[in-house]
């Protein structure tokens, strides 16, 4: 017996020491472990300085939301609509954040950790107040209330600064994203772009119906006749730019004819405050560059 004990001491103690070294060092600030399925919530978390333990569809997040980047430590959870539950359970998070889109997963997810459903882009709600509320709520859940307040203040200050940088008399803008060479999403009431433009004091030329996410899928012909400066949000689908060069209708658009068309780098159309900041930054920079359409 004493032999066995001695052996244990000889073998076990170094092993345990090694394990202690390899274990993550306790972080200076105790962080709540959160995972999220929703990219909008993911970008908010990262903006608050939180490292999400897991986010669904990491690669696609980087392709479509692009900034802020997800930290290396964040694990890919699989598809947004069907995250890998076994993997999720093995991460043992403290909170799971979802949007109402994934509400039907809530019962299953709540077996792993408390689920918080945070609404954004719901019909009949003002986008900007909802954005602020979402940010505060996320901040509360991860115990970063101060950071959330700071993010909101920073965004508002930034928008205020950008507003003063705008050239005078900007015509109404028409913000579109190409789906193929004949169809665009045009962004209007209820969407992120519209909310940002309203705070910048810019007019949106699209007054047509939009869905809960604030866009409408239309053919190019429906844009004809609108007195507006066109703003195209990238990416262009493959081959569309070449096709547009031959498109009679597109070439006759006033903004295309006088080359006042504005092109913006990709911004997540259904994002939260970080996306709002990026959109505002890009938009104002582009408008400054070519202040007058003609």
């Amino acid at each position: 017996m004493p032999d066995a004990l001695a052996w244990l001491r000889r073998r076990l103690v170094p092993t345990m020491l090694l394990a202690l070294v390899l274990l993550p060092i306790p972080r200076a600030q105790a962080q709540q472990d959160v995972v999220t399925l929703d990219w909008t919530l993911a970008e908010t978390l990262v903006a608050l300085g939180v490292t999400p333990a897991g986010v669904a569809q990491r690669d696609a997040y980087h392709a479509w939301v692009s900034a802020p980047r997800l930290p290396e430590a964040t694990v890919d959870l699989g598809l947004r609509s069907q995250p890998n539950l076994e993997l999720l359970a093995s991460l043992a998070p403290d909170h799971i954040l979802i949007s109402p889109m994934f509400a039907n997963l809530a019962p299953r997810l709540s077996r792993i950790a408390p689920v918080a459903t945070l609404p954004l882009y719901t019909a009949g709600h003002q986008t900007w107040p909802q954005l602020r509320e979402l940010t505060l709520e996320v901040g509360r859940l991860v115990e970063r209330e101060a950071a959330a307040e700071r993010l909101i203040d920073a965004t508002q200050t930034q928008l205020e600064t950008l507003r003063h940088r705008l050239p005078e008399r900007v015509p109404p803008l028409l913000v579109v994203q190409f789906m193929d060479e004949r169809h665009v999403r045009v962004f209007g009431a209820g969407g992120l772009y519209q909310a940002v433009m309203a705070r910048l004091g810019l007019d949106n030329a699209w007054h047509g119906e939009t869905n809960a996410w604030g866009f409408s899928l239309v053919g190019l012909e429906q844009l004809a006749g609108l007195e507006a400066r066109l703003v195209v949000v990238e990416p262009y689908p493959v081959g569309v730019e070449a096709a547009l060069a031959d498109s009679g209708l597109w070439q006759q658009q006033p903004s295309v004819r006088d080359e006042s068309l504005v092109t913006l780098p990709p911004v997540w159309s259904f994002g939260a405050l970080p996306s709002a900041q990026r959109f505002a930054e890009h938009l104002v920079a582009a408008l400054e560059e070519t202040p007058h359409g003609n």
Binding site: A63, V75, S81, N104, P107, R182, H183, N211, W213, S247
Partner: protein, 658 residues
């Protein structure tokens, strides 16, 4: 003489109605800014007037495109139906559109450069490739019509499943293609019309040249051969031309359903018997139908926040028309059923075979429970905390596999048709439509709501089936065709929803691909329990199932009350399908495959067939579920998709071998 003349005029009268409607719509639209200005915009560009610009670059080309596309599709449809001697052959049923769709998706993701070189060529290559596959599968059997349609169906489902996988993982990148898949006729210049017109003209000319030889195909194979015609080459030429026509149209405007199927059939019903008049009138009617629908849509859809694509809408409107048409189609009713025993010899000891299968199933279950992956890599475990996630899915997969297999066995024996499957009956489609509606119309629906909606949809489509088929005494062919129509409606609804680009559609895609993901322990037990109960319920029908494949006449002679037997079996099939669909979605191949594989393995009497199919069904779904969870870890490929990919490959291999 008078009736002869009336017969000759009937197709013209049929065309007159949409023609007048179209004329009214055109005049009504032009009158908005003055008839003269509207007409002048056709030829001249007035950069200062937005209305004139839209007329010139969008409205007129769109009208021209609708006429061209409708005509081209209808012409292609007539050719296909003539060659295959099947009134229900169409580009969509033969895999052309799904081949084109898959090629475009793959090109978008893997080689975008190809799209720059010419999108229509990618689409044509894909459609041609799919059709070539169909030809390759059926070449040895002399491209026999029934087999070509069958191979087309399988290729269609297979490519559809592959496309679904791509869509599941790359929804954001492929959203433009979803619009293409729904067939939008929106135009912004004359380029596309200028591309299409000469090609269709060429196709029309070739059809005229082929007119006389193609007429020979109305005879049966032996008589045609005795006239010294090479049937293979003739069919190849006819089908090739049809593909060229539809491929050209589809590559430009996207998938436009139904016109190619409806126009030729309406013209035929109106009394055009000979091929020549049928070609002419169908082309005209197709053009008029599509243009009229499109103008009507432009009138009403402008106020909606989303695009209502014309192609999918014609398909949706077409489904009820198809249901109306089916009782009026002349189908070969007296055809003797396929002899049931030609597939494979009977196994000498089905009992032993079943025991071996059961052992295999057990091994698969143990494997599926123990082996898995986590962030670090593979691991085997018996930890209850992990198994807790796995066993409900495994159980539900097995249960739905059993149910689909039994449903498939029942319906294949009921219709004496080895190609029948519960998915084809449209019950899955009906419950899928209801589910999509629930996802989109209700705020944050829970699982219980979704299940209720799905069941309601399944029951509704069952009711439609019963009402439509009661009078004809549930004739198998009619029944299957009604199912095809309901499935077409489901397809249209799905396409419209996906094309809109609503972020919620990701969930629809996930569910439609058939996943055990949404199963919890309670529902898993429920599914397994239902599978056992319904499997036992199938037991008393064994005698009927042995007799029914021999044909209705034999069955009556043996004292079976055929109509009652068919109705009760049908109810059972519906119930089985609805339960399984709620778990694995409407796309799986299991209901088609398991009975078939059981047959090939040598289970030939009804009782053994049911047992063997049930075991194979469970084995298939359990393996598919496990594979789907491992292949692209951490992302999961839904079990229904994996099953159809595995099953489809096996099926094509079997088809080639036969």
């Amino acid at each position: 003489m008078a009736t002869e003349a009336a017969h000759r005029q009937a197709p013209a009268l049929v065309c007159l109605l949409p023609g007048l409607a179209l004329l009214t719509l055109i005049l009504g639209s032009l009158a908005e800014e003055g008839l003269f200005d509207g007409l002048r915009a056709l030829t001249t560009v007035t950069p200062t007037s937005a209305e004139a610009l839209v007329r010139h670059y969008s409205w007129w080309p769109r009208l021209a495109m609708a006429l061209l596309a409708g005509g081209g599709l209808a012409l292609g449809g007539v050719l296909m139906q003539q060659v295959l001697r099947n009134p229900l052959a169409a580009p969509t049923t033969l895999g052309v559109t799904s081949g084109a769709n898959l090629a475009l998706m793959a090109a978008t993701l893997l080689a975008p450069g190809l799209l720059l070189a010419g999108r229509e060529w990618v689409a044509l290559a894909g459609g041609g490739g799919a059709m070539a596959l169909v030809f390759a599968l059926t070449w040895r059997r002399g491209l026999s019509p029934a087999l070509v349609v069958l191979a087309g169906l399988v290729v269609n489902l297979y490519f559809g499943a592959l496309g679904m996988v791509l869509l599941l993982f790359h929804q954001e990148t492929l959203k433009g293609l979803l619009i293409w898949g729904a067939g939008s006729l929106a135009q912004n210049g004359w380029d596309d019309a200028a591309f299409l017109a000469p090609r269709l003209l060429l196709g029309g000319l070739a059809a005229w040249l082929l007119l006389r030889p193609l007429t020979v195909l109305e005879l049966d194979d032996a008589s045609a051969r005795s006239l010294g015609v090479s049937l293979k080459h003739l069919r190849l030429a006819g089908l090739g031309l049809a593909i060229f026509l539809t491929g050209c149209v589809v590559s430009v405007v996207g998938v436009v359903g139904f016109i190619g199927l409806a126009a030729p059939n309406i013209v035929r019903l109106a009394g055009a018997r000979r091929l020549g008049p049928r070609l002419v009138w169908s082309t005209l009617l197709g053009a008029l139908l599509l243009a009229t629908t499109d103008l009507l849509l432009q009138r009403f859809a402008g106020t909606l926040p989303t695009l209502i694509p014309t192609g999918a809408t014609t398909a949706a409107l077409g489904a009820p028309l198809l249901l109306w048409l089916i009782p009026r189609l002349r189908l070969e009713a007296g055809r003797p059923p396929n002899p049931a025993t030609t597939l494979a010899p009977r196994h000498p000891a089905p009992g032993r075979l079943a025991t071996n299968l059961a052992l295999g199933l057990l091994a698969a279950i143990v494997l599926a429970l123990m082996l898995g992956q986590k962030a670090g890599g593979w691991f085997a475990t018996l930890d209850i905390a992990v198994l807790e996630w796995r066993w409900p899915r495994m159980l539900a997969a097995a249960g739905s596999g059993v149910m689909l297999a039994i449903a498939g066995t029942l319906i294949q024996r009921l219709t004496a048709n080895p190609m029948a499957s519960p998915e084809v009956l449209g019950i899955s489609g009906g419950s899928a439509i209801a589910l999509i509606a629930a996802l989109f119309l209700l705020p944050a629906p829970g699982n219980l709501t979704l299940v209720a909606a799905g069941t309601l949809g399944a029951l509704t489509s069952l009711a439609v089936l019963v009402v439509l088929n009661r009078r004809s005494g549930f004739v198998p062919e009619r029944l299957l065709l009604s199912g095809v129509a309901i499935t077409a409606l489901f397809d249209a609804v799905r396409t419209i929803v996906l094309a809109g680009g609503d972020p919620r559609s990701q969930q629809v895609i996930a569910w439609l691909s058939g996943s055990t993901y949404y199963v919890d322990p309670v529902s898993a037990m429920l599914v397994a329990g239902l599978a056992v109960v319904l499997a036992l319920a199938a037991h008393p029908f064994v005698r009927w199932l042995d007799i029914l494949p021999l044909g209705a006449a034999t069955a009556v002679a043996l004292g079976v009350r055929v109509e009652r037997a068919r109705l009760s079996l049908l109810l059972l099939v519906a119930l089985l399908t609805a339960c399984a669909t709620l778990v694995v979605g409407p796309l799986s191949f299991v209901g088609l495959l398991a009975p078939h594989m059981a047959r090939l393995a040598g289970f030939s009497r009804a009782r053994a067939h049911l047992l063997g199919a049930a075991l194979i069904g469970a084995l298939l779904t359990v393996l598919a579920d496990w594979l789907g969870r491992q292949l692209l870890f951490p992302a999961e490929i839904p079990a229904g998709l994996v099953a159809s990919l595995l099953g489809g490959a096996y099926f094509m291999w079997g088809l080639r071998r036969r």
